[in-house]
């Protein structure tokens, strides 16, 4: 970012020519100011996030088991992961979960935002609150409510279905259906937050753009796809990354509703990490799994950022 020289400032004489000296100073001034602004947050993050991350990275190269000596084992943990069927299962589950929940969340959030953005919509405030409410409460508690309601033998939802002669079968205990239900709860939880992001994004699109498209005879779908959607690129990138991070870190509702079962069918990477670290005390191995997860999310996020930064809009 270029900073224009002030009209009547004096320049330091450092033996350099006039304008070059100024540019050097301004770059230094930029860097200095920037780091000063970053410092308070930076110090906190450096100590409590970077340091702990670094420690956990170190641990992933050891056989730390919580107490006693932790011996260096190099890449042994990572190599073991490759042939660990439970890890591969958790990885597959995590990818499947994210591959479904992320696009669905984006589409549903955007859809709801478009619906709620309609001018003169009655009860708009009520709808907004209703959709956002899941985000407001602790997922641990709402998962318990879902667990109770979805109980295949004593839950409200299966009971209602049965009134209509339909059956949810074994519901969340059915190996084929369990994942579906935890996905639904995952989407239910986060979609309100994304919808609010999109509402903001939608309202910042100048109405004239859409109106002129309509006058030109464009159908609502065309005008959405060619005008609205590209202009929402920034928001979509942000929502996309957050949805991805949330999806890869899915834990609470799965832990409470299915415990990772039936027989690991819904076990995601974080659940496996939890089981390895907390139940088995294999901290070294758990750290290795975590770092694989971190890298995975990071790589996918980079793709997202790359995809969207070509399309971001600058006014």
């Amino acid at each position: 970012m270029r900073i224009l020289p002030a009209a009547n400032s004096s320049r330091p004489s450092r033996g350099l020519s006039g304008s070059k000296a100024w540019r050097v100073t301004s770059k230094t001034r930029q860097a200095f100011t920037a780091w000063m602004f970053i410092a308070p947050a930076g110090v906190i993050i450096a100590i409590f996030v970077f340091w702990t991350l670094f420690e956990s990275l170190k641990t992933s190269f050891t056989d730390d088991s919580g107490f006693g000596s932790a011996n260096w084992v190099g890449l042994a943990n990572y190599v073991a992961l490759l042939s660990d069927p439970r890890f591969l299962n958790a990885l597959a589950n995590t990818l499947v979960y994210a591959a479904v929940v992320v696009p669905v969340s984006i589409i549903v959030a955007l859809g709801l935002a478009v619906l709620l953005n309609r001018p003169n919509l009655p009860f708009r405030g009520f709808f907004r609150v209703a959709v956002f409410l899941p985000f407001v409460t602790s997922l641990g508690i709402s998962s318990m409510a879902w667990w109770a309601m979805l109980n295949p033998h004593a839950g409200i939802i299966p009971a209602w279905f049965e009134v209509f002669g339909l059956s949810l079968g074994n519901g969340i205990q059915d190996p084929a259906l369990a994942m579906l239900f935890v996905m639904i709860v995952g989407v239910w939880r986060d979609v309100g937050f994304f919808m609010v992001m999109y509402l903001g994004g939608l309202q910042s699109i100048p109405k004239e753009l859409r109106e002129s498209a309509q006058i030109d005879g464009a159908s609502p779908w065309k005008s959405f796809w060619n005008i609205t959607w590209p202009l929402l690129a920034n928001t979509t990138m942000f929502v996309g990354i957050m949805a991805l991070v949330f999806a890869f870190q899915a834990f609470d509702q799965i832990y409470i509703m299915t415990g990772g079962g039936p027989f690991f069918r819904t076990e995601t990477l974080v659940l496996y990490i939890f089981s390895t670290a907390v139940e088995r005390y294999q901290l070294g191995y758990a750290s290795a799994i975590s770092w694989v997860l971190v890298l995975l999310v990071f790589v996918v996020s980079l793709f997202q950022v790359g995809y969207f930064s070509k399309r971001t809009v600058q006014y």
Binding site: P12, R29, M36, A39, G169, P175, P262, F263, E279
Partner: protein, 427 residues
């Protein structure tokens, strides 16, 4: 650079630095730490007695602290997962608690990690009386010939049965053998495909997420998970295969139990009056009474070979590396906890049977449940001495049983593979 600019730059720097440094210091401090008085010995005690038993434990600890001036117990109750995560780092940094109450399944882990110490000398004349304390719990904390724990709570799993459903099916008495259990369950089951929320099941058998109650099914008919010396897996023995196939047939084809439900689900089913039987501990009695189930409690049925049942317990372990004063203080508290008076209070309030066998039943008349749970036969900690106790159940045995029950393989196919995994965990 002008003097003005220089000052501004420094102002920015100062504010940045100040924010980073002052804010942490400006935050107010919490309550000051209690200085170690030269008076009573302070010992810390961590456990995970959340739920309705928490207040009872708190009241007893308070009574102990108030009844004498030599020892003060500072107790912290926290969720199980949190305590497990904090325990080892706390011990590693020297801040670990003096006493911990952990489930049976965790004790061997802590013993082999050497964070707790043997307390054989806590038992004897004038101290803890082995003769009246539950053998199974003491055995569960014995390792390499040394005793590491003292009982805090201990209860066998027993068979709850719904008297109303039994009467409806024309059954006069609860089953005494496993065969009878199967027959009774079949009679009680009222099953219609696709009507899961109205079906009535003979038994609600939980398969995960709680107390593991499958062991006795296997043991009583000659099977089991590990050999006597805890060194070999016997999970794929011919007896086990036969037993698992037997029950799978009953579950899948005769629908005597829903398949793949968790332990809380099973409890909920019984509480709602839709299961004829459930295997549970004393903690369930309160809920079943509240929901209006007319229940009885019977010993877990005999098999063709023997009669055992699983015991669930929380012993107290004592940390290694504590001072002599703290060690003595610990003994005082353990004596108090296991005294007739405390155990009477504990049993009446919690429904657990007292840890002492010498308390007259008349003293427990205020709560009928403890007496029911003193009538178990063959209570044992089936996986005592195995370090990876809980992991084996959660990661190997439960999934294997579930797979077979769900039709994802026969016992002949699934158990050998599971047995290999179990063997690997036996190390």
């Amino acid at each position: 650079m002008t003097a003005q600019r220089r000052t501004r730059r420094w102002r920015v720097a100062a504010i940045g630095l100040a924010a980073g440094l002052v804010l942490p210091l400006a935050a107010c401090a919490g309550p000051a730490q209690q200085p170690q008085a030269s008076g009573p010995t302070h010992i810390t005690f961590w456990n995970w007695y959340q739920g309705s038993d928490g207040p009872t434990v708190e009241a007893l600890v308070k009574k102990f602290n108030e009844s004498q001036s030599k020892v003060v117990v500072d107790m912290t109750i926290m969720p199980k997962d949190t305590m497990i995560q904090k325990l080892l780092p706390a011990y590693a940094s020297g801040d670990g608690p003096t006493l911990i109450a952990v489930g049976h399944e965790m004790t061997t882990q802590y013993i082999t990690k050497k964070v707790v110490q043997p307390i054989d000398d806590f038992y004897g004349e004038g101290k803890l009386d082995k003769a009246v304390l539950p053998k199974a719990t003491i055995e569960a904390t014995t390792y390499d010939g040394k005793i590491y724990g003292a009982p805090m709570s201990s209860a066998p799993l027993m068979l709850y049965y719904n008297k109303t459903l039994f009467a409806k099916a024309g059954i006069a008495n609860p089953p005494t053998t496993l065969t009878e259990l199967a027959e009774d369950a079949k009679k009680i089951t009222v099953y219609k495909e696709g009507e899961n929320t109205t079906n009535v099941y003979g038994i609600g058998q939980g398969m995960f997420s709680g107390i593991h109650s499958w062991t006795a099914y296997f043991r009583n008919d000659g099977g089991g998970y590990v050999s006597e010396d805890r060194k070999t897996s016997i999970l794929d023995s011919p007896e086990n295969i036969k037993i698992l196939n037997y029950w799978t047939d009953l579950f899948r084809n005769h629908h005597i139990s829903p398949i793949g439900i968790s332990v809380p689900d099973a409890q909920a089913l019984f509480a709602a009056g839709r299961a004829g039987m459930v295997i549970d501990g004393p903690w369930g009695a309160g809920n079943y009474a509240k929901s209006g189930v007319d229940f009885g409690v019977a010993a877990f049925p005999k098999g063709s070979v023997t009669q055992t049942t699983m015991i669930v317990g929380t012993p107290i372990l004592v940390a290694a590396g504590i001072s002599d004063a703290q060690r003595e203080a610990s003994l005082e508290f353990l004596k108090f906890w296991n005294s007739p008076e405390s155990q009477t209070t504990w049993a009446v309030k919690s429904g657990y049977p007292p840890t002492r066998s010498d308390i007259p039943m008349a003293d427990l008349s205020a709560n009928p449940v403890p007496e029911m749970f003193t009538k178990a036969v063959g209570a044992e900690s089936h996986m005592r001495g195995v370090v990876n106790f809980q992991t084996i159940l959660d990661d190997v045995v439960n999934p294997a049983i579930q797979k077979v029950m769900n039709g994802q393989g026969t016992a002949e196919e699934v158990l050998p593979e599971a047995s290999k995994q179990l063997q690997a965990l036996l190390g």
